[in-house]
């Protein structure tokens, strides 16, 4: 009694809808089976997809955007777009990386849209930086806030590359894949963005101090 649009899942479920959740809860639904369920438009597969990868996507977006009240909406938008294009994805092993690239693209659009709107998008209460985390020193929190203020002054592609490389800690190849560019291109982008970041930071006493410390740390 399987509808034709629902894949046969190995657990021989009593109901297809329950199957995905049961398998997911048991940690048995691997990415390949999840992708098959998504491509077959299984009714519950989007929820499983979201629960599995939303924390990752939110983390990547937060790395890029910092404290931004729009992050939850952007997470949703990234998943919407992924689901709309899920038929184009063949390799289940690439599911997470593919989704990451989509999320990065949505973040890029958001940055550009926010910039076009100038100050207007910056003045919402939720767009302002939150108070520092409970165990963060004021100095650290201020440096992080200035870091994202510096990012705001950079072209979208450059800030994204910097954030993924140095805040998220991605490898160069991962940054290139997330940004959907070649390794050579991302290296050039990073070189440009690092130089620009330093130029911006030189005018900021707090970031300047952090860079100075990093220099000392590097030379030790």
């Amino acid at each position: 009694m399987h509808p034709t649009s629902v894949p046969r899942l190995e657990a021989a479920p009593a109901s297809p809808a329950a199957a995905v959740y049961d398998l997911y809860d048991a940690g048995q639904l691997d990415d390949a089976r999840l992708l098959r369920a998504l491509r077959a438009h299984h009714a519950r597969a989007p929820g499983v997809f979201f629960e599995r990868f939303a924390p990752h996507v939110e983390r990547v977006l937060t790395r890029i955007l910092g404290s931004d009240a729009d992050v939850p909406a952007i997470v949703n938008e990234a998943f919407f777009r992924a689901l709309e294009r899920i038929d184009r994805l063949e390799d289940a092993d690439a599911l997470k990386r593919w989704l990451t690239a989509i999320a990065v693209n949505v973040a890029r659009e958001h940055i550009r849209s926010r910039r076009r709107r100038g100050w207007l998008r910056f003045v919402g209460a939720d767009d302002m930086p939150d108070p520092p985390a409970p165990n963060a020193s004021p100095e650290t929190a201020e440096a992080v806030r200035r870091l994202y203020a510096a990012f705001d002054a950079m072209p979208a592609d450059e800030r994204i590359a910097l954030a993924l490389r140095f805040v998220d800690g991605m490898e160069l190849t991962e940054v290139a894949e997330a940004c959907d560019v070649s390794l050579a291109t991302i290296k050039r982008t990073l070189a440009r963005s690092e130089a620009r970041f330093v130029a911006i930071s030189r005018r900021d006493p707090v970031l300047g101090e952090w860079l100075e410390r990093g220099t000392r740390w590097a030379s030790q």
Partner: protein, 434 residues
């Protein structure tokens, strides 16, 4: 930072500050999705898939004129009767849906709102109503033109997002549009006044009888004089900034910017502005400073106009004012601005956020009972909103710190029921075990 840094030094420094940023972010980010997040996403996904993209093709069906009059009268009655409820609207004879895209492929299509306001989508427009409140609505128009007749009330709040520009409306008649191909924004104002923002221009108060034509590309704004069209200038900051994207915001060649106002920090008393087509004395300096993260400077610049903004500014402006005061550690003024939002924009999303921020201010000031009341208010006003979980969590803290242990236990129980793996779950468990 006197000597040039090597690439290795730069990357080491970036790695260091980047790691700190990641560490702070990870303290706030949930390790896994909240229970039920998948199901909620499925609902959103299904709504997205089924949201109609309404092709509106032929002309209006023949209707007697008195029928339209009856509709308007009925809408007015409904508005009177159902005042506290959000406005409703119709697209031709069908109930309008918030969030549904409308593509106008022939002739014009009127959206009739229950307060008597009307937004008419012109041929080839792409638009959707993204939010409706009891005081107005927000309409997004990525392409094409609209005509609007907005009924004025003391609390009217309408916003039309036209391409990269925003037209804030309290009550007026105007036509506006955005040509994405040519990147041109147009506005013809017949009655009332509106404020135009976007594309880094100063907030521009536009008066009746005015036609505005603006071009926005690559983060720059240029005016295109057409007859009596006034010139709108970009912000002074964008012209004089030393670096960053603001430095790239230039006027197109041959289009002179309007001279900077002689008293740039004059209180923006909109009612007292001289009767010019466009007045550039509404100074956004503090807003732009805030946008750059320089909150101390923003606060200093905002101080001379603090009360005026609280009394007359838009909800977004007053919220921004509260933020710069908060980050400048002037909690008394931050509180004043937030209370102004609560009073002037009751029921809006801004007012809900203001409740949460008032809670935080009270908490930070040690007024825990007051903080608890605000967090409770924030949660009850927007139980499914983005700040609900945080409000519920902070409510536990506020009650516990304020000595209301029974209240804290009740809040903790409620929190664990709603967010068993939320960031305040461990605190909630501690409170219950204690």
């Amino acid at each position: 930072m006197g000597e040039p840094m090597s690439r290795i030094e730069i990357e080491a420094a970036l790695t260091r500050v980047g790691k700190e940023a990641a560490r702070l972010q990870d303290e706030e980010l949930p390790p896994r999705a909240e229970p039920g997040a998948g199901a909620r996403f499925e609902q959103a996904w299904n709504a997205r898939r089924t949201a109609p993209v309404t092709p509106i093709r032929r002309s209006l069906p023949p209707r007697a004129a008195w029928g339209a009059v009856a509709l308007v009268a009925a809408a007015a009655l409904v508005a009177l009767w159902a005042r506290p409820r959000p406005l409703s609207f119709s697209v031709r004879d069908e109930a309008g849906q918030v969030g549904a895209w409308m593509i106008v492929s022939a002739e014009s299509v009127p959206l009739r709102f229950s307060d008597g306001s009307r937004i008419t989508l012109e041929d080839d427009a792409l638009a959707r109503v993204t939010n409706v409140t009891q005081n107005g609505a927000e309409i997004v128009v990525p392409r094409g033109h609209v005509r609007a007749t907005v009924v004025h009330t003391p609390t009217s709040q309408w916003k039309v997002d036209v391409g990269p520009f925003v037209v804030d409306v309290t009550g007026t008649t105007f036509a506006t549009g955005w040509d994405p191909k040519e990147q041109v924004f147009t506005l013809d104002l017949t009655e009332g006044s509106v404020v135009v923002t976007g594309c880094s221009i100063r907030p521009q108060l536009v008066h009746p009888g005015t036609s505005v034509r603006l071009r926005c590309k690559q983060d720059s704004v240029a005016t295109e004089p057409t007859g009596q069209t006034p010139i709108l200038a970009p912000s002074a900051e964008s012209e004089h900034a030393e670096a960053g994207p603001a430095a790239t915001e230039t006027l197109d060649a041959g289009v002179p910017p309007e001279p900077a106002p002689s008293s740039p920090r004059k209180t923006p008393d909109l009612a007292a502005l001289p009767d010019r087509a466009v007045d550039a004395s509404v100074d956004p300096t503090w807003l732009q400073l805030a946008a750059r993260g320089d909150n101390r400077a923003a606060f200093a610049a905002a101080l001379p106009q603090f009360d005026a903004v609280c009394d007359q500014g838009s909800a977004a402006d007053v919220m921004a004012l509260a933020d710069v005061a908060r980050f400048a550690a002037d909690s008394a003024r931050a509180r004043k601005a937030l209370l102004a939002v609560r009073t002037r924009f009751a029921g809006t999303s801004h007012a809900k956020r203001a409740a949460f921020l008032l809670g935080r201010l009270s908490f930070d000031g040690g007024a825990f009972a007051d903080a608890a009341r605000w967090f409770e208010t924030a949660s009850s006003e927007d139980p499914a909103g983005p700040l609900a979980r945080e409000s519920d969590g902070r409510l536990i803290e506020a009650r516990e710190r304020g000595g209301d242990h029974a209240g804290a236990r009740a809040a903790a129980q409620r929190y664990l029921q709603r967010y068993p793996s939320g960031p305040h779950a461990s605190l909630a468990i501690q409170v219950l075990e204690h």
